[in-house]
Symmetry: C2
Subunit: 210 residues, 2 copies
């Protein structure tokens, strides 16, 4: 098994944090997306969608999606559960993970990919060119991030973690959304005290260094 | 248990198709999003994110996300498996389901929400106002849909279903993405023969009427 990874990209980090929380180590292969290594002919065979991370299994099957990789690890290494144990816990965690993806990661992605010069003409993940940046999406991304901070601040007022009393994959996705948005100079607003308390606690977990 | 549902909305249909494939029936409550019923104070208690579907469990817990609802049903009613049985099948299906969400549903959503008059000033799901439509996203949504059709046509050239030889939730998400894009008059291009064959086979399943 090997993990196609890149230190500076948000979705690979999501998997690295998950693995660190599980105590699982997988050999990695660097795909330097800043040098457009994901667009090489060789990598096209690993993942035609040209995104990282990818987990290549020993039978050659390639899992080219961060959450799907986490699912694979969760089934093989169920302890500690990061995607819920019973039906209700699984559903609540998946709801919050998908909300963090839709409201957090998608907003941060919209913001950063339309803002950072490195994404010029490729504002959509996985395309080499032909998708110009749209300045209006920088502004919209900021508004969406503001909404994300507000909604999560409310949820974290009554809960230690995003999906309730226990750390889960929903915290990892929300955390990397915050980290990603920093690249467009957007940070947690001062009045979101619960969110800031949660962010501090996640940042101090050993897995945050992954 | 009850399902907050609306016949004309794509994400509730995703759950209805999943339930029909499982042979599971759940009483429904209509939330007419064309009449903005999701913005009522009552519904805010059910789902502060103002989206449907929502599955309300007997203990009052509300699962306000389509795929999380499917997960809950999958755990309670594992046959037939629609999210994979072993670790590898689960990961491959989740990869394709998320790809269908990112490349299909997000593209169709971008297209339709920036195109249809009913979404004026609320081009983002779950917000009552303040997010104007951006005409450039109609064009970008069409390009993204074209890419979606091409990529899935390649996958379906060698596979009966989206994630391989067996019908799964990945087919449901891809199917509702196609259905949703029709509202902006976008349909499968003539040259995508494999995609068209797959679409025809999914349309003829009894669950497609759900």
């Amino acid at each position: 098994m090997k993990l196609y990874d890149f230190e500076l990209a948000p979705n690979p980090r999501r998997v690295r944090i998950f693995l660190a929380e599980k105590g699982v180590t997988i050999p990695t292969v660097e795909v330097n997306t800043r040098e457009r290594a994901q667009f090489s002919p060789e990598f096209g065979k690993i993942n035609p969608f040209r995104t990282i991370p990818v987990l290549e299994l020993d039978d050659g099957t390639c899992i080219g999606d961060s959450v799907a990789i986490c699912r694979y690890i969760e089934v093989l290494h169920p302890e500690p559960p990061l995607m819920g144990r019973d039906a209700e816990a699984q559903a609540v965690i998946e709801m919050w993970e998908r909300r963090a993806e839709l409201e957090g990661m998608n907003a941060a992605g919209e913001l950063v990919r339309n803002f950072a010069p490195m994404f010029e003409d490729r504002a959509i993940a996985g395309v080499p060119s032909g998708f110009p940046q749209i300045p209006a999406l920088v502004e919209r991304g900021k508004k969406r991030m503001a909404r994300f901070f507000e909604m999560w601040d409310q949820q974290l007022a009554d809960n230690a973690f995003v999906a309730g009393p226990v750390f889960s994959i929903a915290d990892i996705t929300a955390f990397i959304a915050v980290e990603f948005a920093k690249r467009a100079e957007i940070t947690i607003p001062d009045h979101c005290k619960h969110f800031a308390r949660w962010y501090e606690s996640i940042s101090q977990r050993p897995s945050a260094k992954a």
